[in-house]
Symmetry: C2
Subunit: 330 residues, 2 copies
């Protein structure tokens, strides 16, 4: 039996960096969280990434000599082939950051580089909800909407690292909402947590005195409270939740009619809403999609929670090593 | 030098079957057209397909013994893996037609089977507008909207043969038009030739006396007349054309944010509208898509016209033979 190899996965977010050591079975030996402190600049950020690698290895009770490769996932837009963050809105003021080369040189190890949503999808594909599937589309539902597409075991990242930016697929032609990206009618402008909050505020303003959410109105209101109010029978909250389920079902059906994967996975903070919300999405999908994919495509929640990103980054590192081995084997 | 092989490609449409012999360079030695006569039933239809193969071979001055493989493309929905037409709205009353097995047995030759829009995309990829690209998305703009996706030289057909059904991606959430497929808000319900005619009728009814198209109103009106009236300065026709370009640009940008291909190709009868229409689409894409794919993704017209389907079907046959050879070579 071949002894397991170990990989370090690093998931760089706008607020924090999460990292861990992962073995060939997809189990993690350590999880470490550090602040990103993006505002302190990209040199500091790269040093934090290095530190996240070192701390993950130490917390895993290993030495760096036991690590076969490193994977780093970051928010986009990226040039994945070049290993560079171009200019990520979530990591201001970083610009043209050569993450992959920096990490390769800092540790002398093969280093994989990926978009964070793609990495999360790859993590779920490898050892989460997507285990055993050949192809998946995963949506990460947070303040924004991330998406990753895995086809036949490979992340689809596209010619310009823009594949899977399905949060910015336009779903409204004639009377579109404005998205945080500046464009109009993006999925994210309808179904993200930020969009839920905005739609809730609009509904409360349009129908004063009708919702228990009015008490909470303002900066304190969270999507969690909207889902709780809906569960408690609040009509306005129920409409917001129901519309959100519909929008996400449109996104799922649209991917069934484009990618036609084995499975559509929803992850991110919003899935704390629980199975009743997933059932609403599934019910809409059964009407929206063509009969064959509607009946047979699994629509489910992610399983790895906020570990999906670093586990997926480690999976990218593992794939890098496997592909190198395949090239070296005659 | 390896001598060229010959393949027969067959493109089965609702009205006619087009077939031809194609060599390894993508050149066709013959083109033959037969009526489909779908209403006469699927047994007759299969016999017409056989006849289309025989006539193509004869017109190419070859014998069947010179043919390496056959490719057949048909309208969907299909089960591509099983080689079966399930129940195609354009081939009523056909149902569960085992096309691939029938053709294999009739001619004793390896037979490839594909969706017609996928085959057309593969034809353009092989030896049309997509020559040299690694990945393309092609829209075929006719009465409906077909779409085919080629990634790294391979047709994406998906788990249930529903990949690339982008004509039935929903692009309007809140106030959708009804599509011929019965669903709401599909791209096809906005940007197909049928949609152009419907939108023109609506505009003429809403603003009587304002358009030269009113003279032509009724069964005689064609999309060609709408494009010609727009070119002649008719405001209502110009609005219809401009909206259509916008809808197709949304479709293109959405694919840049999902597949991120090297190239987006528009084919089908509507491209007779010419380069001014393509320029309108490109102008909208430059605003709708993220800057990097917007600047670098080619958006162009197809080059093979109505031959794309049978040439693409032949390309599928050729790929089948190549893959068999690769398996047999140690």
């Amino acid at each position: 039996m071949v002894p397991t190899r170990y990989y370090v996965g690093v998931d760089v977010g706008g607020t924090s960096i999460k990292s861990g050591v992962v073995n060939d079975a997809g189990s993690h030996l350590s999880v470490v969280t550090l602040p990103t402190e993006a505002a302190r600049g990209q040199e500091h950020g790269l040093a934090q990434i290095d530190e996240a690698v070192r701390q993950a290895v130490r917390a895993g009770n290993l030495g760096l000599d036991k690590i076969a490769a490193i994977g780093v996932a970051t928010p986009g837009p990226l040039d994945i082939g070049a290993g560079i963050i171009l200019e990520a809105p979530n990591l201001k003021p970083w610009r043209n950051v050569p993450v992959r080369r920096h990490v390769e040189e800092a540790f002398g190890l093969p280093t994989a580089f990926q978009n964070d949503a793609n990495a999360a999808a790859y993590g779920e594909f490898w050892c989460g909800a997507g285990r055993g599937a050949r192809s998946i589309v995963m949506f990460t539902l947070g303040t924004g909407i991330g998406c990753g597409i895995v086809l036949d075991g490979r992340i689809l990242d596209g010619r310009h690292s823009h594949a899977g930016e399905v949060g910015h697929v336009r779903v409204e032609l004639t009377n579109p909402r404005r998205c945080a990206c500046g464009r109009l009618g993006c999925l994210e402008a309808y179904a993200s947590a930020a969009a839920i909050m905005l739609r809730t505020m609009e509904a409360l303003a349009a129908r004063p005195g009708e919702s228990i959410l009015e008490r909470e109105r303002g900066a304190e209101l969270s999507t969690r409270q909207v889902f709780e109010a809906a569960a408690a029978g609040d009509r306005i909250a129920q409409n917001i939740v129901s519309d959100t389920a519909f929008y996400l079902a449109v996104a799922a059906a649209n991917m069934m009619h484009t990618i036609d994967p084995d499975m559509i996975i929803f992850g991110g903070g919003m899935i704390a809403a629980g199975l009743p919300f997933l059932d609403q999405i599934r019910t809409h999908v059964s009407v929206l999609a063509f009969p064959v994919p509607a009946a047979d495509t699994a629509v489910c929640y992610a399983e790895l929670g906020s570990n999906a990103g670093f586990i997926g980054a480690a999976a990218c590192a593992r794939k890098l090593v496997q592909e190198r081995d395949a090239r070296l084997t005659p």
